[in-house]
Symmetry: C2
Subunit: 157 residues, 2 copies
């Protein structure tokens, strides 16, 4: 199974890039995992949040393939423990899913169009974190899931 | 109000230290915030998880003052949105709390002794994150809370 994480806007903080790199390297042993970075919306400063979400939706929907299994990371989604999340990934593999595409919205969240196109939602937290930091959290969580599935000692219960 | 974050074990990953530093610097404008790092348990490799939690409990309970308001960050705690968390901090200030002490456990969580001594619990996520990463999350969240209370544009609803 291939896993993609689709996000909007470059990670600019160098220390966060490095923190993510650590898990990208480790994940190579388990799965094809890739972070797809879509370009930030140009001139966002002069746009309303709704307009930004609209433009981000266009970008995201162009990127989404109906042949992939697409899932939004969204505050309103279902919450999993790390073990439940590893079970979730195992289920996708058992069902023969080829491409799992996790999608993170911009700072204002998703437009209704995106919710209409992608029904499945997972929530990490009710709290909002910087959308740069969220990439680190998700990448670590996918790594943690694979160590759980492989009975490795990274995760402690 | 002073806010402390009490944690066990040094943050060793340099990029995470740097990521935390960014928020420590920014927080100086709003609040006295300090991360108290208790030493890792020596010889933990030869101890059972229960023994490690016991020894960590001793360390934590020695550090806790009954004159402070102590709160555990724990999976079983109440979940807040970022705005609710900022309201929570505001309430503590309104109640005249001098020292707010957030406590993060080690990799195995807290011993029953700690749960007995500290009743209040906040949860960031059902998922488990590296206890190094949790420090970054909490520090960012406290910063986010103060920007919300000060009507600054960092947090987007």
């Amino acid at each position: 199974m291939n896993i993609k994480l689709t996000v909007i806007g470059k990670t600019e903080e160098n220390h966060l890039i490095q923190a993510i790199e650590v898990y990208l390297k480790r994940l190579k042993h388990y799965v094809n995992y890739e972070i797809i970075v879509l370009a930030d919306i140009k001139g966002a400063k002069n746009l309303s949040p709704a307009e930004i979400k609209e433009k981000e939706a266009e970008l995201l929907l162009k990127q989404i393939s109906k042949y992939d299994k697409n899932i939004l990371f969204d505050e309103k989604g279902s919450q999993f423990t790390s073990v439940e999340f590893s079970d979730y990934l195992q289920k996708q593999m058992n069902q023969g899913i080829k491409n799992l595409n996790f999608i993170v919205g911009g700072a204002y969240g998703f437009s209704p169009k995106v919710y209409q196109a992608v029904k499945e939602k997972i929530s990490i937290s009710k709290m909002t974190f910087s959308h740069q930091m969220i990439r680190l959290l998700i990448t670590e969580q996918i790594y943690r899931a694979y160590t759980i599935l492989n009975h490795e000692p990274y995760h402690k219960e």
